[in-house]
């Protein structure tokens, strides 16, 4: 994916090949092609819940807005890097 930003419209979902486990304050993920677990807390963990169903970056921000009340534009700025990292790491995959 390189350094390209995640666009607003492409829909993503959890990779079925990712292993993951919930913790008290978040989730721990193991990407399909890595031996290093990733920990997500707070809004990162909420993103993982959102992408249980196919969602675009914009849809994810709108859903988060309903939960946390922060403006959608501000949320897009916050979550875009996290979503990009999850995509790069292979734990989010595009919906066919």
């Amino acid at each position: 994916m390189g350094d390209e930003p995640v666009d607003l419209e492409t829909r993503w979902q959890r990779s079925p090949l990712a292993l993951w486990r919930r913790t008290t304050d978040g989730v721990v993920l193991l990407p399909p092609t890595s031996s290093t677990p990733i920990g997500l807390r707070g809004s990162g963990a909420l993103l993982w819940d959102i992408f249980d169903e196919p969602s675009s970056l914009l849809e994810a921000a709108e859903l988060l807005h309903e939960v946390v009340g922060v403006g959608v534009d501000d949320l897009l700025e916050d979550i875009a890097p996290a979503v990009r990292e999850l995509v790069t790491g292979g734990v989010l995959v595009p919906v066919a």
Partner: protein, 367 residues
């Protein structure tokens, strides 16, 4: 009982219906490292985190952070172990070797309301006796290293509990042929373990585990005779499964009877009910509370519970139940004359362990 012990038992029982254990007051900072270390040993990180989140246990902000850190590490360990589990399962199934996942991940996904509550430290796989040697060869061929050489070629397949390997991630993979070593191994109907199965999903794959009642019996074996002092997680497993409404108590007790292991099940259930202070009565707990072991039961179980001469007592007890003269002869031969490769990986020769055990047993009977 110390405050740390009280917390440990209350954590192990957290969420179980009918437990009379309540959380003691806050743990002071001096005792907190000991509590964390014990939580880690007992594999209670998930239940510990849940007890804190539910407000059942009070903690300072710093204590809470350290508890969350432990829980996160345990979760990270679990997913790495599950990756190794899936890799081992894939190569074994590709070689047409039938597998059942034991304990750990299987119990977490099948018997707990949320897998996060059940932490584990290794991978346990069960294969059929006639496929045991092939399974070891397949895993070694894919980069695993056997930790201990068997006594004589074919011993593990015929008489052993299993063997332990390390995969390329240094994850311990325990390959089992039966639930325990010693006399009870020879009374189990091992082929029957593969007539039923439960499935759970990991990373998009269907993973086979034992059937529900077989899983319960395995938990009982592990709790009652797997270690001299069972981990609290093991006690929780027995209670968790025994209280699950879908467990068929009649089928479980029938299996126990056919395997001549009723005393094992009774001991495991009684220990769990006593240590976790459970008041919930059901068919299994009421049966366990009224079960009276025979002298033979006590002798066989006793061979697992004395650390000092455990190997010797189990070997001697096993001789009484191994079917067939030639099989008993092969068993003794392997103990008397192990391959040199075996005692290069063990600290003591089996015969010396047996001789030492017999001397200890004789001294005890004279005193």
């Amino acid at each position: 009982m110390t405050s740390v012990q009280q917390v440990l038992r209350a954590v192990a029982a957290h969420g179980l219906a009918g437990s009379g254990l309540s959380m003691p007051g806050p743990v002071d900072d001096d005792a907190w490292p000991r509590l964390i270390s014990s939580i880690r040993f007992e594999r209670l990180e998930g239940l510990f985190g849940r007890a804190l989140a539910d407000g059942a246990l009070s903690a300072t902000p710093e204590q809470r952070e350290s508890a969350i850190a432990e829980e996160t590490q345990a979760a990270a360990r679990s997913v790495v172990l599950e990756r190794s589990l899936l890799d081992a399962l894939a190569v074994l199934e590709e070689a047409s070797i039938e597998v059942r996942v034991l304990k750990g991940s299987a119990v977490a996904h099948l018997d707990y309301p949320d897998p996060m509550l059940r932490c584990f430290g290794d991978v346990d796989l069960l294969v059929q006796s006639e496929q045991f040697d092939a399974a070891v060869a397949v895993l070694v061929g894919h980069g695993c290293r056997r930790q201990y050489e068997e006594l004589r070629r074919g011993f593990d397949r015929r008489f052993g509990k299993g063997t332990s390997l390390l995969d390329q991630r240094a994850v311990e993979i325990d390959l089992h042929r039966t639930f325990v070593a010693g006399p009870f191994a020879f009374m189990m109907d091992l082929p029957a373990l593969f007539k039923t199965r439960s499935m759970f999903e990991l990373a998009g794959r269907d993973v086979p585990a034992l059937g529900r009642e077989e899983r319960f019996l395995h938990a009982c074996f592990h709790t009652a005779i797997g270690n001299v002092a069972p981990r609290l997680t093991s006690l929780r497993d027995v209670a968790q499964m025994a209280l699950f409404p879908d467990l068929d108590p009649g089928r479980a007790l029938d299996l126990a009877q056919r395997w001549r292991a009723e005393a094992v099940v009774a001991r495991a259930v009684s220990l769990s009910w006593e240590r976790l202070q459970l008041s919930e009565l059901n068919e299994i707990s009421m049966w366990a509370s009224s079960f009276v072991p025979t002298d033979r039961d006590r002798r066989l179980i006793g061979s697992y519970l004395t650390k000092e001469s455990q190997f010797a007592r189990q070997a001697i007890a096993a001789l009484g139940v191994i079917p067939g003269v030639s099989a008993r002869a092969a068993y003794i031969w392997a103990l008397v004359l192990p391959r040199p490769a075996h005692f290069r990986t063990r600290s003591e020769r089996p015969l010396r362990r047996i001789a030492r055990g017999v001397r200890v047993a004789a001294q005890r009977s004279r005193s």
